[in-house]
């Protein structure tokens, strides 16, 4: 179905996992400002900064799909976020339009809706409630993707990813964890769909204590295979009663909803 797929953020944690998995099906071009270790046979490499418009336009050329995973992935100063996540995401979408790309999959984040209380039971129609500049930039990307779909017919999915890593690391992760292979399945489902249109999907594994309702995108067929619950005994062993009004406990975004979210280095 695809002759070449661009993956931005290819040198990041998720990108490194995705590269070989995706490349088994469709040739990929890996893009990052960091070098790509040991490219796979047939893998193309584009080394450039998301904020470098011309370089990004060039990287998208010849690709009929884009997986846009490059970004500052925690809180930053507004100027950091403005360059990498806002300007950078424009560069990717506009590059896709110029290149005639058919589909763009965007790594959005649960932090675009971080300020919903955990019991809210939200679905794909939930309005943005970002918890950081980072979260605002993800909401911006969803919004920009909506415009490119409506105006130019570029099919689009925004994946509101929870906590994508090897294993969940705290109680919150029992709800928000997304395993690598479930992330991969989400992407494949979006690429394979006969009609993708415009979709907002939550990136969570089949967790017993999951928060997010993907029923409005059920037609895409994402059926996660992993479940954070197997880590529950270890994670709950020393759990204590917590203050239900503590923002890190009350809201979906966890510690991002406090005054002290994890921060990108400035230099």
């Amino acid at each position: 179905m695809y002759k070449r797929i661009l993956l931005t953020g290819a040198a990041g944690l998720l990108g490194q996992y995705l590269r070989p998995e995706l490349h088994k099906r469709w040739p990929i071009r890996s893009c990052d400002m960091r070098p790509i270790d040991k490219p796979l046979p047939g893998e193309e490499v584009a080394t450039c900064d998301l904020a470098d418009r011309e370089a990004i336009f060039k990287a998208v050329e010849g690709c009929d799909a884009v997986l846009h995973f490059g970004a500052i992935s925690i809180e930053g100063t507004f100027d950091q976020i403005l360059q990498a996540n806002i300007n950078g995401t424009y560069n990717v979408f506009e590059g896709a339009r110029r290149a005639g790309t058919k589909r763009v999959i965007f790594a959005s984040s649960n932090h675009a809706i971080g300020y919903y209380p955990r019991e809210s039971h939200i679905d794909s129609d939930a309005q943005p409630r970002p918890d950081t500049y980072y979260g605002v930039s993800k909401s911006f990307g969803e919004s920009l993707g909506s415009m490119y779909w409506s105006k130019y017919g570029i099919e689009h999915a925004s994946l509101r990813i929870g906590s994508c890593r090897e294993e969940p690391v705290d109680r919150r992760g029992l709800s928000t964890w997304l395993s690598f292979r479930d992330l991969h399945q989400m992407i494949v489902r979006c690429l394979e769909a006969q009609r993708l249109g415009y979709a907002i999907m939550y990136g969570q594994s089949n967790n017993t204590r999951a928060w997010w309702d993907n029923s409005k995108v059920a037609h895409l067929g994402f059926q996660p295979q992993d479940n954070a619950e197997k880590f529950a005994p270890a994670l709950l062993k020393d759990a204590k009663l917590e203050n239900p009004e503590d923002p890190a406990v009350k809201y979906m975004g966890g510690v991002f909803c406090t005054d002290n979210p994890p921060k990108w280095p400035t230099n």
Copy 2:
């Protein structure tokens, strides 16, 4: 629970499958204009045209439930549809009322809601959006069944059947397929329910990429066992990117939403 059940369309594809399955539990009377090959022991046969009012009234006599599966099952001229599907369905419901029948299960169709975009996530409360005269006639039958329930207390289920056949035959079928045994389960659940009332249920197997939401009829306990996904590798092998605005791709009804739906022979 039932001393005799009338099955119309008994010689059709679905009818042929259902006859022996149903007859194991409850005596059936098989009705079709075509001959019934090799009736089962104890099976009664009524050979008549749906448009023949007196014959249909007679066929329903003595039956405490009716499964109305007889119809022109693809697009026809309006006059064909008017006789077989509209007049014929009236004949069945009115016959049931006269005979004191308690429940009528009606084979409606996804083509009664064919013009919803595939991402609509519709449930039992979705208004009609038929894609053909055929679809309009199915919507008519649902509506007529509603009246017979409200006015005369005849319990009723309309099954909006997807693609009921041995195997799915195209990408769309990955979502719409209904296996024969899942069809059978749907019918049994409706017949067995302590209270059926009035129900609209989607006829789809437990497909990974299913479109329709049966949660409003969850109390009836339909839990399909088959999944079209096992046919996915074969069906997707040569799949291409398609135009998301092509009516056959955009809407639930598929090719019925184009100018060229499959057509019933005229002679």
Copy 3:
């Protein structure tokens, strides 16, 4: 905007009111099986039965809008309804398609949703719950209109008219009354709309005790001027407590929900 508008049922109660009102703005062609008394200057007349397909096709030719108000307007035998309301409505829509008509306004009825309890607070998305064959035929017309819009782009409004007459005549009418001039306004709004698309609208005046929620078609700008409440003192003067479970009291359709609805003459 319109060079000629066809009005079916032009000799009926509503048609007689509408003819001169509409003709002030746009030339009309009045169609009925009964003769049209004293045609207006410039008014064209087409005398024919709704069930006469060729005659109806001919009547629609040259019209860029159709107001389809012809029908059996109370309960009839199924065969009466089948000919006049089901076959007849097909003839009108199909005639419109062949003639290149742009908009069809259909006089549907509250009896298409007559079996909702009065406190239901339903809107344009309410599923059919017809109370008679008459009501079923109106639901059929809405469904057919949906198909002609989706497939052929003919813009369409179905007006679920309450009780359209000079004055309300009973307690129920305090809720269901539609004055003639408010009916006229509804039609004008539908004809004038920059985009009509597909709309289901309830035909009720600005009644203090109105049941139906037109908010989903608020963009069309129907703002009724009359209110049945001015007749309340007379209509409630001798009112008694009634049985809340009596179908004529419980349901929107009133006496149509009983075993004894008003009936069309057979001969």
Copy 4:
């Protein structure tokens, strides 16, 4: 997480099952007006009437969670209900507030919503529709718990328990059954939750024909393991068609919706 949990109704059917299960994780204090047979090692016992305010206040002291399962559990005279279920529940909540208790789990009942028709598909936001004084008292307890959460921050879950017993005993039980171990899981999930807040949850096993929708409390992770369906063959063996308008068949509350609900002894 808890240094001591109070269980009221500890000598009842559910209490007897729960005592050893809970005590494995957290020390319990068992409270009932009936004697507790063979207390477990480390189990504390408080023998008192729910209507005895001072005794209940004393029983709650030192407990950081309360499971309030004590009540008249079928229909009673209003005065019986007023003392045991209304006054008694106040005593428990007010005792909890005075003792600084963090969480109260309340055994509510499906009879708080017994008058919904079975096809209603209700969820945690369903308004009370009680079927008896008993049901009214359960609705009272939910409402009181809401106030203690909003005003005093006591986290709270009301469990609308279906039919909790060894096995389902009738057709209705195929939908309403809650196995003992699934009840236990519900309670554990509520106690373990990082943030419980205020939750209304339906107490039903993973029944094929379940009626109630727990999706709004899905974040708590209750995933029942049992299914009443295994009892279906036996329970349906001699099933007959029933009258769909019989209150015991039409409504969720079953026989509680008739004039003859099971009654508490008066003496």
Copy 5:
């Protein structure tokens, strides 16, 4: 329509206003524990305590409608509330059932839903969120009324009254004010309705800044004539910016949501 209507709380602020207004249409029997000053010609008087069951049963006899306005109308001790509002309301409903009364109108209160944030936009389906024992008792009365309607067919309206007095007295009153004549209209609409069934209605005038949505009871035709806005200039003259997280500002119940609601005298 009514031969006699019982009004409880007849000597209270609202009762005093209502007595002469109602008596113009239908003979009333005024009930209060306080004496009724100067009974009107034809007005009957029943002096008794709401907690006196036999006296209340006797007071209801011969009345085909009851307006139950008697209650402790601010916060009390639980025991005060239990007797006057909970036991007392049971006495009224049970008396009505025994007397064959057809309709009961219950003065509920906005304090039954006091803990909704002001921007919640709630309607008749809002679940209880009481702010005091007083509010809990009003939720209890609504729930009890629901049971008497479902089980015994007594038609019922619960009026969630805002701030019913001569004039609004604070900023909150710009939203919650209910004028006396609008209260009277609400009651008349409920008594006059052809079918009342079970209704929950918010008691607010046509206030510019109203919070509550009565659209689900629009069929009853309550159209308030007064508007608190005319008092806005005076009430806002010295208004200051307030803390949006102060419970008295954040929630609908105002000062009832704080630790210091107005309290009924104890003696």
Copy 6:
């Protein structure tokens, strides 16, 4: 209530109207990059570019409310939009946070939801569907305002303004027009509200053919006084039937949904 209010975009069309109106109630500081003609007595002036962070921070100092109306107000290049509308809006919100400002009113736009079909009947919970980079930037501002409310407690309203000018100029304007005095009322309501919290409100006059549903912000009391309908005869005089699938006719954003939206000059 306010000692000083900052108005950005003070020299623009809306700003010029608002300056004297607002200044009657509360002292204003007018900010624009263009000069302010004839400042009013007591009016402060701050001349600076929105993209100049330090200047904006300084302009906000000492203001307890901000009306942020400065922006590129039609389509621009992405870089123009990035500086003026994205970076500029950050500067205003962050300045407000640093200055301890209590409320920020943001001039958002209907172009943030321009791609909804006109019949969608959307309300304050509608997700972004922007039609231009301009629309994306307005969605960004709403999202940023949500974060500043959730994290820092700055109360916020985003006004999705339709067509704010002297008079409507085309058919679309019959729905989208907002008169200057209605704009002024919206702002005053937001400033006066006892609790504003976070609100999204549509900026349209009381137009007969209005599209947007402000019911979720009804508590704020915006009741527009003007109605575009008085311009209907002139605007509809030569109206023609239009193509319902033309993006400028189908979608709310009108010509902004085509390839040729009005564009900001580049130089």
